[in-house]
Each structure stands twice: as structure tokens, then as C-alpha cells.
Amino acid sequence: MNTTSSRQNSMTPGSPQKQTPASSLPSGSYFKRIVSGFISLLRGMGLTVTYLTDPRTVVTQQYPENRATLLMTPRFRACLTMVRDETGAHCCTACGLCEKACPNGTISVLTMKDLSGRKMLGKYVYRLLQCTFCNLCVETCPFGAIVMGQNYELAAYDRDALVLTLHSEEDEPHA
């Protein structure tokens, strides 16, 4: 298909078939221009005053007050979290795919071996301070062991507090 032929008549300011703003330009004599310019200003003032007088136009969400009702969308991407079942068990096999998928070294999967010599997760370090929430780690994980969390209130006073340990075998309660 020849695209140039499918092109419709292009908009040119002042063209008669389309009501363009240019057609309402103040033109003509000195006085006519002053009057039409003045009317254009009044119309603008009319618009703003409708916003002022109509309280329904206020779109502000009052954040800390609406915290309870403020829900993020299901796909919302914030702080990475590890999926855990009701017993607190995760399903990370320490394959390290997420680590490699991460574009900027946010994740460190530190492995150890169990008694039978199989690789398992020792520590899962997540550097929130350099995470871009790009979701590549979650997309890569073959087991669905990690998800992007919904918690967006992540501000901290200390830079080091933003290095999170999502899992550490040392902290796990073991029988």
C-alpha cells in the first residue's frame, strides 16, 4: 500500500474545513483586536472559575488519610518479596537465574549445600537501593519463588537499611 496516498488532508491552521483555533485569531483593526483579545481572556477566566466553583472537579487523593483504601494494582511493581506458604517455607532452589537476569546486580543468591550435597539457598540478598523494579527476575524465575510486592512505602533514613535479606538460613527456625 502506498502510504502517501492514504494520507488524509493534513491539518493546516486556518483551513476552512476544520475549525482550527487559528481561525479565531484576533485580526483586523486595532480596536477589533483589543475587543476579541479581551473576550478570549474572559473565556479562559470562565473555564478556570468553573473549576473553582465546582467541588466535584477536585481530583486530589489525600494520601496518608486514604492509606486504607489505596490499593495498588495486582501487577504493581515495588519491593521484591519472597513467596512463602503458611509454614513460612519458600520455594527458591537457588538456581541463580534471577541474579543473572537482573540488569544491575540487585540480587545476590548465595548458595550452600545441604547434607546430601545438593545446592540450596543460603542467603537471598536484595539491594532495594539499586532495584529498578523491572520485573525481569520475576519473569525469569521458573518456580515463582519471588514476586514484586505491593508495599510502596519504602523510604529509609539509612542507605544501608535498603539492603534487604529476603531469606537467610541462619535466621530460619530449625528443629
Binding site: M1, T3, T4, S6, R7, Q8, N9, S10, M11, T12, P13, G14, T20, P21, A22, S24, L25, P26, R33, S36, G37, F38, S40, L41, R43, G44, G46, L47, T48, V59, M72, T73, R75, F76, R77, A101, P103, T132, F133, C134, N135, L136, E139, M148
Partner: protein, 378 residues
């Protein structure tokens, strides 16, 4: 007196003139980020201007050489963050071209719709910021007010508001949620209403017209010679739009027109962008009507390895012709990746536009060029 770097005119004659140099930026409210301009002024009139770039040059092209193609998609978000989807798409198109990956119809529709939504969103922001630069602060807030519902759609779609990392070779990371179409319909009607309001508030406003008409006139020849694209080129009367001239995705199946200006002044560029928003709603309306079912992406590969060669793809982002030039060496990472940024060339023409104008006009001209500095600096 020695001239600062970049100035080429005759040197200042001692005592002959009242010329002086004024440094604007890198932190200045109307340079839209960290652009630095050095002005040579005679009173308030600009004699010469030298832009200084690199205040947010992050070396994305170098970084891209060490990241896989998938990871590179997430870096493109950060070039022109107001057209993150278009940037994603450009890189995906290059990968698809290299690997012969096709996209299912639903995926293509999703691409077109999202890119158009993003164009509207970017233009809304531009309109607001333009108004603020001209002193009408209220327009800034009206622009952002209309922008929020679109951001909501994005957030619902991919979980992020600005840096999406959404498109993948062969489609997109997620399918459209159920609420997608109704929300797009809402946005279409609200944008059409908003554009009317914009006309009332700024376009018809006599002060605004006085400030923009005949200011920063960019001739057709100059626009082409400087490689301008997007609304800057079209404002000068060249009807070049990648969506029409080299259609990608499904743009050849949509009915829309490419608005062009006649004089190439700030007001024309302004009108072109407003009209583009309406055209984008037209595209969206058609897409909503025909939005197909089926899969949203084609077969996923674990690793994208491009065969050796060089690939080029280009899209029409909100600011103009955005392109990706990938030189692949057969590995999972590009050998060289080059982004063609529209704002880069659009800014270059600034030094031609502002000569003889006043400082206030400079602000209007920069605003109508619609620059995104990280896109220029990369």
C-alpha cells in the same frame, strides 16, 4: 575578552556594545532538566546561544554492550522516559527483525494502543509544562490531571507508571487486563474534552498567541537540514511521520491524519501536538473497536541471540523519530547499540531559532521543541 567555548560570532569589541553572557542551567526551571545554555545577550535580545550537553550523560550505549538484549529493553525506558513504550518497541522491532519473530494480532493492537496512549500522555505533560513556562501555572495542573488516568492504565497493565519495561520481542510481557478497554474508552472521551479546554485556556488566549505566533520560525529546509523530526518537523510543514511513511506494527491499518503546520513557528508546533492528541484518540477508537482476542505474544525464547549483522528500526515516539541501531556479533549481547534520539536533533536547531528573540521567547521555543534531556544525553 575571550569568548566562551562555542561562540563563533565576532568577538566583543571593548566598550562598543553592552553585550553580556548569561548562563542558564543546568538547574533552571525552563530548561526541562539539566540542559545548560549560555546566552550572549544584548539587553534582553539573544545574539547567540550555545547549548552545553552532558549533564545527564549516563553512557547507556556503553552499558548496553554489556547487557543482554532483554536487559537493554529496560535501559531504553530511561532514554526518553515519556515515550518509554515507543523506545521499548523500537528495540523489540530490531530484535524481531533480526530473529524473524512475528507478533500476534492482539500483541500488535496492544502495541499500537499503548504507544498512542503514551503519545497522548507525553503531549499532555508537554502542554502542561509549556503553559507553566509561559506563566500559566494552572495549565500545568490541568495537563497533569488529564495525564493521571492514562498513567493508571499503564500501572494496571504493567505495574509501573513511567519506566515500563513492557514490550518483549514477539509481543509484550503481559496481556491487557479486563479493565483495559473500558478505561481506554474513558480516556478517549476525557482527552477530547480536555483538548477543548486546552483551546479555551491557552490556544485562544490572546496573550498566548502573541507569545507564540511568529516566534522561533523554523523553515522547512532548515528543519530537514538539521534532522528535526516529530512535531517540530511537521510544524514546519513537512508531513513526515514514521507511522505513515515507514509504517511499523499495524499503523498502516489505521486511519489517521498527520497534522502539519504552515509557518513553523511555536504556535504551529503547538497546534500540531494538540491535533496529534486528537488523532491518537482516533487511532485508539478504531483499535478499541477492533481489539482482537488470542495470544498477546509469540513463542518466548530463553535467550535472544542476534545473528551477526547490523539492524535498524525506527518508531515515531512522542518527540519524533526514535531509532535503534544494533550491531550484533552473534552473542547474547549487542556489540554496539546506538540510539537515535529525536530530541538530540530537535535541540540542535535551537541555536538557529532563538537569534534575535528575547529571553522569554527562548523559554517558549524550548518548550515547543519538547525536549527530554536524558534522551539527548543518553
Amino acid at each position: 575578552m575571550e569568548l566562551p567555548a562555542g561562540f563563533t560570532y565576532r568577538p566583543i569589541q571593548n566598550g562598543a556594545t553592552d553585550e553580556y553572557f548569561l548562563n542558564m542551567g543546568p538547574q533552571h526551571p525552563s530548561t526541562h532538566g539539566v540542559l545548560r545554555l549560555v546566552l550572549r545577550l544584548d539587553g534582553e535580545n539573544i545574539i547567540e546561544i550555545v547549548p552545553h550537553l552532558g549533564y545527564v550523560h549516563r553512557g547507556i550505549e556503553k552499558m548496553g554492550e554489556n547487557q543482554t538484549y532483554l536487559q537493554n529493553i529496560h535501559l531504553t525506558d530511561r532514554l526518553d522516559y515519556l515515550s518509554a513504550y515507543s523506545n521499548n518497541l523500537a528495540l523489540c522491532l530490531a530484535i524481531e527483525e533480526a530473529l524473524e519473530i512475528g507478533v500476534p494480532e492482539r500483541g500488535e493492537y496492544l502495541r499500537v494502543m499503548i504507544c498512542e496512549l503514551q503519545r497522548i500522555q507525553s503531549h499532555l505533560l508537554w502542554w502542561g509544562v509549556l503553559g507553566m513556562d509561559m506563566g500559566a501555572v494552572t495549565s500545568f495542573l490541568y495537563g497533569f490531571k488529564e495525564r493521571e488516568p492514562i498513567t493508571d492504565i499503564f500501572e494496571e497493565l504493567c505495574g509501573a507508571r513511567l519506566t515500563m519495561n513492557f514490550f518483549r520481542p514477539g509481543g509484550s510481557a503481559f496481556d491487557a487486563p479486563e479493565t483495559f478497554l473500558p478505561r481506554v474508552r474513558e480516556v478517549i472521551s476525557s482527552i477530547r474534552k480536555a483538548v477543548d479546554e486546552f483551546h479555551t485556556l491557552l490556544t485562544h488566549n490572546v496573550i498566548f498567541q502573541e507569545r507564540t505566533k511568529g516566534i522561533g520560525v523554523l523553515s522547512r529546509e532548515k528543519a530537514l537540514a538539521y534532522g528535526c523530526s516529530g512535531a517540530v518537523l511537521r510544524g514546519s510543514g513537512v508531513d513526515y511521520d514514521v507511522r505513515k511513511n515507514q509504517p511499523y506494527s499495524l499503523y498502516d491499518q489505521f486511519d489517521f491524519s498527520v497534522p502539519t503546520g504552515t509557518t513553523g513557528d511555536c504556535f504551529d508546533r503547538y497546534l500540531v501536538r494538540l491535533e496529534e492528541m486528537l488523532q491518537a484518540t482516533n487511532i485508539l477508537e478504531q483499535a478499541v473497536r477492533r481489539f482482537p482476542g488470542g495470544p498477546h505474544r509469540s513463542k518466548v525464547k530463553a535467550q535472544y541471540k542476534l545473528p551477526a549483522g547490523s539492524y535498524w528500526s525506527q518508531v515515531e515516539s512522542a518527540r519524533g523519530l526514535f531509532g535503534v541501531y544494533v550491531v550484533a556479533d552473534g552473542s547474547a549481547k549487542p556489540y554496539r547499540i546506538k540510539y537515535r534520539s529525536p530530541s538530540f536533533s530537535n535541540l540542535q536547531v535551537l541555536s538557529e531559532l532563538v537569534i534575535g528573540h528575547k529571553i522569554a521567547d527562548l523559554v517558549a521555543i524550548i518548550a515547543t521543541l519538547d525536549l527530554v534531556i536524558p534522551d539527548i544525553d543518553r
